[in-house]
Symmetry: D2
Subunit: 134 residues, 4 copies
């Protein structure tokens, strides 16, 4: 199956800028995480909160990001999220962040592991997610 594509919008908060006058580089991880959450919700197979309530957590295991242009306070950014089919106990998300002028701000990937909330051992993705990708 092709990666599932979802589009999320986020506005850069004042507190997320730094003294260089731009969005501080680490804050994009807030946006990507929020976009992942909304992408999951939009599948109609439950939210990330539901998944945790069902005993599965997804710590980050890898992050690769490339920064192209700065984003500024009050910029309305579009986060394109591409969710790949889970492979065993891992799942990869690709991202492209663009501003309203269509300029590339950032692209990259994050890889997450599925672990059980109680024992923190690797586990299969939740059924809902496996079903979604069938």
């Amino acid at each position: 199956m092709l990666p599932y594509h979802y589009k999320h919008h986020v506005r850069v908060r004042y507190a997320e800028t730094d003294k260089m006058g731009v969005c501080w580089h680490g804050n994009y991880l807030l946006y990507l995480e929020e976009a992942r959450g909304e992408a999951l919700r939009a599948t109609g197979h439950g939210s990330y909160a539901d998944m945790e309530a069902a005993g599965v957590m997804t710590p980050i295991v890898k992050i690769n990001l490339n920064y192209h242009h700065s984003a500024f306070y009050d910029d309305l950014l579009t986060i394109h999220v591409y969710v790949e089919e889970p492979v065993r106990s891992k799942i990869k998300f690709r991202y492209e962040v663009v501003n309203e002028a269509g300029e590339a701000i950032l692209d990259g990937i994050t890889e997450l592991a599925f672990i059980t909330a109680d024992t923190h051992q690797p586990c299969r993705p939740p059924l809902a997610l496996r079903t979604f990708f069938k």
Copy 2:
């Protein structure tokens, strides 16, 4: 007993500045929290982590802060913490934050409640803390 006085130092991080070029106002709550933690550790009656491990949590119930001067990236701030004796299930901390030139940056108070980690009901302060104030 007089309030217990503790002095903590913190350096303003780049990410903690905003586009105004100063430490973003909300980030002082990071510094005050860190200062509270170090003040507790310095009592020799266990750390805040120990307290949580023993089943007591301390959510914030009130914050009053007055901002006097801005702090800047890389400023080394001194946080004076004054810990008052707990009253029933609450404890109050007063703060004065000054920079290296001795200028007043911020003062204020936070009030925290003691609750049990399991039921989230108000509870007495941990014995160690009550002992410390005797």
Copy 3:
């Protein structure tokens, strides 16, 4: 004139929770700031970004917050903002934050000063804002 009332919505991000499992107390300042910005935009008299571009900045001078209930990951919060008419070089905002069940999460005020971006001296509120309150 009565205070101007604006309603803003914000969803609690995963990163904004702490190990107590709730929204970390300092993160409400992110929400209040975002709500102020949207309240200003909604007046139709320009955004906060416009105001800064016109040479006026508004550092926080006072914060008083009372915390009533915790908010949790993925909660959709409503921020009621009440903007009072500026008095000389200051402006006060009152807030009430409620969750989807209508429970009071937080209330309080922030007071901001108008200063010039170049000399950082107190100044009158921008004309657009003064006009809005007439």
Copy 4:
């Protein structure tokens, strides 16, 4: 010249944890940034603040991080920073983060660009830094 090695220590703040009970993945970027700053200061060739004051800024252009173990509230982490000699208008930092038990928490690299503060054009590294690597 070999990469310059610097060791920095940082304690995980309460606010930096998330509801999974661990240090939120994005907060490591705070630690790495702080470690870079202290590494520069320790060269004796001026601080990062000095560099900015002299008209050079260093936005992040690339981040690659691998997460191995979680860090927890109050953990005292050691950040090993390896600063490589700048190549044209870029500089690479490698990192290894370990906890007090010596467990690997995270490793990775960040790449930064040198740009002028006024025109935001790529520029040579500051003389002090070039000198340091000779």
